[in-house]
């Protein structure tokens, strides 16, 4: 069982390498327009600080960009990619929009729910490994059903492929944990 506390343990500030990356992003915009970097910095922050945006993380980003915390909250809650709550180790975002539905995304969603033993989209499996979410059109309409996990698209899904994917991610997690 992975406790959400473990993910919360990673807190600001950024490591020196990540801070350099963030500064590089800020420099892409004209002077005084550092707020433009917010979305990219939030993506980096989410990845660095436990897969979700805690108020603490957002306040930290506000400080980095020299803006009010509310400006970060407003932006973070507007865009659906950001997790405003702790999630499982891996988040499966299944596209549910028309073209994917035509080729069976509803069934894939049901299948994943059954596999994870959860009753609703948005829930996390009891072992804390997977959170199931749905997403609107991810631009893979010709290759559906599909899901996104992190930066990776998994396309042409079937129940068998979903099984294999889960095994793959579980293996990835245990190998990463053994290395630590």
């Amino acid at each position: 069982m992975i406790s959400t506390l473990e993910t919360q343990a990673k807190r600001p500030p950024f490591s020196p390498e990540k801070m350099a990356e963030v500064q590089g992003v800020i420099k892409q915009f004209p002077e005084g327009k550092q707020k433009s970097a917010i979305l990219r910095v939030l993506h980096i922050a989410e990845e660095e600080f436990g897969g979700w945006l805690s108020p603490e993380t957002m306040d930290y980003v506000a400080g980095l960009l020299d803006i009010q915390p509310i400006e970060v909250y407003e932006v973070a809650t507007f865009y659906t990619m950001f997790n405003m709550q702790p999630t499982g180790k891996f988040v499966f975002e299944v596209c549910r929009t028309g073209p994917c539905m035509l080729v069976g995304s509803d069934d894939i969603i049901e299948y994943i729910k059954t596999k994870l033993g959860i009753s609703k989209v948005g829930e996390t499996s009891a072992d804390g490994m997977f959170t199931l979410k749905t997403a609107e059109c991810l631009g893979a309409c010709g290759y559906g059903p599909m899901l996104q996990c992190g930066k990776v698209y998994h396309e042409h899904l079937t129940p068998a492929k979903v099984d294999a994917l889960m095994d793959e991610y579980r293996a990835k997690y245990s190998s990463e944990n053994n290395n630590n």
């Binding site: 892409q28 004209p30 327009k33 707020k35 433009s36 970097a37 917010i38 979305l39 990219r40 939030l42 993506h43 960009l65 803006i67 400006e71 407003e74 932006v75 973070a76 507007f78 865009y79 659906t80 990619m81 950001f82 549910r96 929009t97 028309g98 073209p99 539905m101 035509l102 080729v103 069976g104 995304s105 509803d106 069934d107 049901e110 299948y111 059954t114 997403a135 609107e136 059109c137 991810l138 631009g139 893979a140 309409c141 010709g142 290759y143 559906g144 996104q148 930066k151 990776v152 698209y153 129940p159």
Partner: protein, 447 residues
């Protein structure tokens, strides 16, 4: 085989890398433009090509460029709209993923034409893997001297950056995109002023779709006269069509505008007909926002003429019996599909993606979604069908940005062409619930 302008070298191994791309004629448009043409001449060439914006609205790209204000001492920006999110559309992702250097080349040539010294590609956040591909290509282009200071010794400077979104369809609307690029919520701006006058950071800005900017490359390379020979009189050139739904061979195809719809759906070179030997029931030819066409209006127009893949032919008959080429998101429905379910699905999409700024869209899209959900789940009544038609008329045209129209049109068209199916859902609620639930028809599924 039709002529390919964008995807000519798509099957060349390694075409995503600089060397291979360059060896196949890459960056020639930059050489030609910077060495032999003035910025104004590039603008005029694009105007002459009659290129229509490939993002969906079809506004002439050259005309958009000609509107750009050029006050002294104020920077101008070119922003590429790579926020591809219209359901059924996945062509821009294909272009950027497979041909990142074409995107970069298009940005350089176009930025030169507009006199922009800083340009941005705003890409949807979900395409983070594509962003990484683009940044790699940009780094290569900097290293080879195609970006940065004094490009090709011309005295022209350009910096190019990629900025990700965070998950919001509305940021495909150009002013919402600019808001987002400024680090704000993606709320569309009131127009006027248009971005050409006041865009990014209040400066004159052009926002163009990925495919439009990539198409600038062949237009400059072969010249507008040659480009105009391709396609039809009113629809010049080629267009990427992202075909999906129940097709035997879905995918991204580059067509010469003007081939017949029948050939595109059934031809061996293209989609090879409907999957699993089924019959076609309906088609949405240009992304989820455009009107759906019933079977009898797909390959023929209402007057019995052949229907072609062009701006003018797909819209023949107006909204009564036609549709739009839109973004080229070509969604095919086979005979087993439920129009009510799909209409609800799209309504849910628009309700989910409404920014919530103006009342008709915020309240109207979610109202339609709720009514359609009741109908789809066998809890609707006949009154609801008229109510839907009534709600969508009151959203259309009354909102700040076109998302209201985009949400209203699919519902209106579905009721227009498939009213019996909506009525059937009212008269046969139990069957309606059981019918058409994906591929597996999982018996355990309940709504």
């Amino acid at each position: 085989m039709g002529r390919k302008l964008l995807l000519e070298h798509i099957n060349v191994p390694g075409i995503e890398t600089y060397d291979v791309y360059r060896n196949h004629g890459g960056y020639k448009s930059v050489e030609k433009a910077l060495k032999t043409m003035s910025p104004q001449e590039v603008v005029e060439e694009v105007q002459k090509s009659a290129l229509k914006g490939r993002g969906g609205a079809g506004f002439p790209t050259g005309m958009k460029w000609s509107f750009l204000a050029k006050p002294e001492g104020v920077p101008r920006y070119l922003v590429c709209n790579a926020d591809e999110s219209e359901p059924g559309t996945f062509k821009d992702r294909f272009l950027m993923e497979k041909l990142p250097h074409l995107m970069v080349e298009g940005m350089i040539t176009s930025s030169y034409a507009l006199g922009a010294n800083t340009s941005y590609i705003y890409i949807r956040g979900e395409y983070m893997f594509v962003l990484e591909i683009l940044e790699k290509a940009i780094a290569e282009a900097y290293a080879k001297g195609w970006l940065g200071k004094n490009i090709l010794g011309s005295g022209y400077d350009l910096d190019l950056y990629v900025a990700p979104g965070g998950g919001a369809y509305i940021c495909g609307e150009e002013t919402a995109l600019l808001e987002s690029l400024e680090g704000k919520r993606g709320n569309p701006r009131m127009k006027p002023p248009f971005p050409a006058i006041k865009g990014l950071y209040g400066c004159p800005t052009v926002v163009n779709n990925v495919e439009s900017l990539c198409t600038v490359v062949p237009i400059i390379n072969i010249g507008a006269d040659e480009y105009l020979k391709i396609g039809t009189e009113k629809s010049s050139g080629t267009k990427l069509i992202s075909a999906c739904g129940n097709l035997a061979r879905p995918g991204v195809y580059e067509i010469e505008l003007g081939i017949s719809v029948e050939e595109f759906i059934y031809g061996d070179e293209w989609c090879r007909g409907i999957a699993n030997g089924k019959k076609i029931k309906a088609l949405i030819p240009g992304g989820s926002s455009v009107p759906i066409l019933p079977a009898h209006l797909i390959t023929k127009t209402a007057t019995g003429e052949d229907r072609f893949m062009s701006y003018e032919s797909l819209s023949d008959g107006g909204f009564a019996s036609g549709s739009m080429l839109g973004s080229g998101g070509f969604i095919v429905f086979d005979e087993d599909q439920c129009i009510v379910r799909n209409t609800w699905n799209f309504a849910r999409f628009y309700a989910h993606e409404s920014c919530g700024q103006c009342s008709p869209c915020r309240e109207g899209t979610s109202w339609m979604e709720k009514v359609l959900h009741r109908l789809e789940t066998g809890k609707g009544n006949m009154r609801d069908i008229d109510l839907l038609a009534e709600i969508n008329k009151k959203i259309e045209g009354n909102t700040i940005c076109p998302l209201g129209d985009a949400a209203a049109w699919p519902v209106a068209a579905a009721i227009r062409h498939f009213r019996e199916e909506f009525e059937w859902h009212v008269t046969h609620p139990e069957e309606a619930v059981k019918r058409n639930y994906g591929l597996l028809k999982t018996p355990s599924i309940t709504l």
